[in-house]
Symmetry: C2
Subunit: 393 residues, 2 copies
Amino acid sequence: MNIKLNDNFNNIKETYLFSDIAKKVNAYKEANPEASVIRMGIGDVTLPLPKPCVDALISASNEMGIKETFRGYPPEYGYDFLRDAISGHYTKLGVDIASSEVFVSDGAKSDLGNLPDILGDNPIIIPDPVYPVYVDSNLMSGRKITLVSGNEANGFLPEPPKDYNGASAIIYICSPNNPTGAVYTAEGLKAWVDFALATGSLIIFDSAYEAFISEDLPHTIYEIEGAKSCAIEVSSFSKFAGFTGTRCGWTIVPEELESNGVKLSKFWARRQATKFNGVSYPVQRAAEASLSEEGLKALSSNIEYYKHNAMLMADLFRSKGIYFTGGKNSPYIWLKCPGNMGGWEFFDYMLTRFGIVGTPGEGFGEAGNGFFRLTAFNSLENTEEAIRRLGDL
Amino acid sequence: MNIKLNDNFNNIKETYLFSDIAKKVNAYKEANPEASVIRMGIGDVTLPLPKPCVDALISASNEMGIKETFRGYPPEYGYDFLRDAISGHYTKLGVDIASSEVFVSDGAKSDLGNLPDILGDNPIIIPDPVYPVYVDSNLMSGRKITLVSGNEANGFLPEPPKDYNGASAIIYICSPNNPTGAVYTAEGLKAWVDFALATGSLIIFDSAYEAFISEDLPHTIYEIEGAKSCAIEVSSFSKFAGFTGTRCGWTIVPEELESNGVKLSKFWARRQATKFNGVSYPVQRAAEASLSEEGLKALSSNIEYYKHNAMLMADLFRSKGIYFTGGKNSPYIWLKCPGNMGGWEFFDYMLTRFGIVGTPGEGFGEAGNGFFRLTAFNSLENTEEAIRRLGDL
């Protein structure tokens, strides 16, 4: 063929991070067949789906098998029962979001990837290190990206650029952050909202990990005054209720969010109605169940389990005097590799010395060099065993 | 805010088709409270999900609730069990598609909407009338669209443009067609494949209705020699197995499909891995079950039910000497409005005279003027009642 392809795809670096990790782990296991390897690099939940969600999945599946209760095409923006439940979730967080501002989807990654569809060519500001989807989906539409670096000085919570004189921008913020586990305070977020309002910019706020927050920190950007005029929020049931394999997320586009008089909710609604056909009915019922009283109780117990693992790891690194972020309000621990090791060097050290697998920080951006991510998505037994082994670190 | 939006969104006509229809129907029902209205405009399945699919949904949902069988993030391109089953489906159609060429998604509409992501600025060729997503998703990326008209002379199966001297193009073909129900013969499709090969163009072939084919007509574009070098096929479990509310589809990107040396499968894989996180595990198990022996038996019986409705309508219009396409190999009947009525005029006539609701052809493109779509997705009883009423047509 002789058609033109989207050449921007050639600008995306191939990532071999996880395949390189797998290769190293396999080589180690071949050389040490009796070694027990503990995988602390997992970015995926491991506890089963809460029972109220399973019950809802089954009950809705049965409905689909009966003529009188069968449901065809779902509404493109989600069933009212789920949009209402998500709106109610925000009410509990002290924030007023109308059901009509909630757009249900098959997951935050889809929405984060698809939001650039409705945007023109604006400068993009992305914290580094961060979830790679923000960078890659903007490279795919040929956007120019400016990274703002996280580091020890700012606690991996970059501040808005000083003396910014560029055009109105699209700003990505992930808090609690993946991979660093760092969480913005209300003051920290307010600085970004003020920056966005002053520069006419849009914030795309990723709150996928908000359920891990236990301290008095913002769960949603809409806790910050003015955010409804400058921010879209993308969130998910994945880490909230263990839906990584069940697939459901949502995006909030406030009614008052306008650029030069055009409502962004209108463009997003149009995008979704044209290029998306809604989420599976049983899945939406399961998502609704996660927000019920019984569902929230079950998922809290799962989150507490992961957070206990994170706390045990945090205690260890604190006792060793190793710098880290996360470990509370997040399932992630982001630690500085001891002895000025690079991320890959520390990876090899952790694997060969302790049989522990983590993720080198460079996998999440240049500012991740010399750092390392461990996760709490493991069994308590494995986490305790890892901590025992790391006594010699 | 002052950010740039994607201004192409302003070029998409607002469609009030279905809301206009609803308004007219509501007004009629208010004026005639005792009238029984039969809705023959439904483009959605109405029979319940086949039992093997419901059983698979339930069984997989139970697995999600047990630690040992819980599944997290699905593979972005689909589980092997489903990719293998879809590959097996093609084997039965006499076509060799490797599992690695199958990309599972949440539905054909998503894939049709997202495929332009990987393409550059090429001319777009779209038959008229047709499923509006092809036009709208290309307008959203600012593409220039050429429509090729269906009409009585070509039986609503437009042929490739003669003496084409434009650049290599993206060509959309839907067969069996929505809304006309017309199906290309192997010769008709070969003309398009030959045109694509001669002009270096790409065909995006939508086979969502292939399960309705009973005559000896192509179920997949890959039955045509050379298609693997010039065609992507998008398909769906929606009409095949009644999955409109369950959500699962697939796209075939053949390994040999290259433009100027770049494999399209590589770009599509990259797009999906970046902007999509796979399909719900229980849904994939249900889709797999639809392709089992027991599943195929159950879904065939549903399709036969709809086809019997279509046949009854076709017999009526044939006996009345009214021109139509579809009615076999398709759930749609596309008829010429009698007495040179326009689509909306005929709509009013059908509603007020017979209490029957259909869809005016102009809703599917300009070439639909003066035509009308009726669908077979109704109960046999309603279809028979509609035919009884239309005896006076």
